[in-house]
């Protein structure tokens, strides 16, 4: 009476299960992840990778980096027309409940906040500061964990009516280190930047 599952049947079941899993995936998220392109050559996955890109695309529930999610993350560059990361800039944030959190950028300008560190209630107000320079965002962040969701990494936004340029702190070169931090493990200048 006992019926054994043959190898052929097992394979069929595995294929069907695979199809079911794939068909349940979020196609919008999949497209967004794919749209981020490959890793930059010479920069491993980690805190220095993909400067200027929307971190929350992967670092969210359901994303390929779901095991390391962010509540807020982004990149601060030094100049408006040149994408060199600013090290040790403070990202001062205040959420709708009035709770505050300050994150700090690494040597490529990346910063990220994990849920264990801070789970803000949107909207969030933000200002970026280093030394005596301070720049406040005029509008609040409504819900997007990625700064680059609105602040496009392209030097010239493709749609100037719905996108804003990358985040920058200084109007000219960063005082003291126009090429970025000298002791950074990777080049603090974003690939493709002038």
């Amino acid at each position: 009476m006992t019926r054994f599952v043959t190898g052929k049947r097992l394979r069929t079941m595995a294929v069907l299960t695979g199809i079911a899993i794939v068909s349940c995936a979020d196609p919008v998220l999949s497209d967004a992840v794919e749209g981020q392109g490959n890793e930059t050559s010479g920069v491993e996955k980690g805190e220095f990778h993909r400067a200027g890109q929307p971190c929350g695309t992967c670092h969210q529930e359901g994303g390929p980096a779901a095991d390391f999610p962010f509540t807020v993350a982004g990149t601060v560059f030094a100049q408006p027309m040149r994408q060199v990361g600013v090290e040790a800039a403070e990202i001062r944030m205040t959420d709708a409940d009035g709770t505050k959190y300050t994150a700090k950028t690494n040597c490529v300008g990346n910063f990220f906040v994990t849920p264990a560190e801070w789970q803000p209630k949107y909207p969030i107000l933000v200002e970026v500061a280093k030394n005596n320079v301070r720049r406040s965002m005029r509008s609040a962040i409504g819900r997007d964990a990625s700064c680059a969701g609105c602040h496009t990494p392209d030097l010239e936004p493709a749609d100037p009516f719905s996108q804003v340029p990358h985040i920058y702190l200084f109007s000219g070169d960063e005082p003291g280190s126009p090429e970025g931090a000298a002791d950074c493990k990777v080049d603090p200048k974003r690939v493709g930047s002038p």
């Binding site: 709708a96 509008s139 609040a140």
Partner: protein, 186 residues
């Protein structure tokens, strides 16, 4: 001769009757219905004038219109503002530049009122404003991806509700609108 007069008279009579019929039908077409037949209502609720002058648009712009929320081109109830999404223009107005234009305010008004046109009509007729998504969503009376953009009892709620209920006896709460428009606090 007698026959000629008679046919001329008939011709004049026919022309006269036709003219009279034509004038009569024209008058009927242009005149309004009998008094009492149609009840005309002029409402001051959810008026476009107050939307602009009292700053209701600014409340929606600040609370809902950031680029990552209803200022996103993929989102419904699209909101334009000086600090968020801009209507395509040749004046160099980009996000963060200049003021919200009259065209953008008009677009916001249309966006908000056409989200649920039948329900908005009902509210203008006196139904409960809290049946509308523009209140249920930000107050989180209904699931809202953007969370609670408005808190129960705060200035933004008072402003929007007073705009939706505005009439001669209950004017719009301009103080609440002014306060709610200062967001985020600067």
């Amino acid at each position: 001769m007698k026959l000629e007069v008679s046919s001329h008279f008939r011709l004049v009579l026919a022309v006269g009757v036709l003219s009279a019929l034509s004038i009569s039908s024209s008058l009927t077409a242009c005149s309004g219905p009998e008094k009492g037949e149609l009840e005309r209502k002029v409402s001051t609720r959810a008026a476009p004038g107050s939307f602009r002058t009292a700053g209701v648009t600014t409340v929606f712009e600040r609370r809902c219109g950031s680029l990552d929320c209803h200022g996103g081109i993929g989102r419904n109830m699209r909101i334009y503002s000086s600090r968020g999404l801009r209507l395509p223009n040749e004046a160099g107005l980009r996000p963060g530049v200049g003021e919200t234009t009259l065209d953008e305010i008009t677009a916001n008004y249309q966006s908000i009122l056409t989200l649920e046109p039948e329900l908005v009509n009902a509210v203008i007729d006196g139904a409960d404003p809290y049946t509308l998504l523009i209140l249920k969503k930000p107050l989180e009376l209904e699931k809202h991806k953007g969370g609670g953009a408005i808190r129960k009892g705060d200035d933004a709620e008072r402003c929007i509700v007073s705009w939706l209920k505005e009439d001669l006896l209950t004017p719009i709460d301009t103080v609440a609108c002014t306060n709610a428009a200062t967001f985020p606090k600067e």
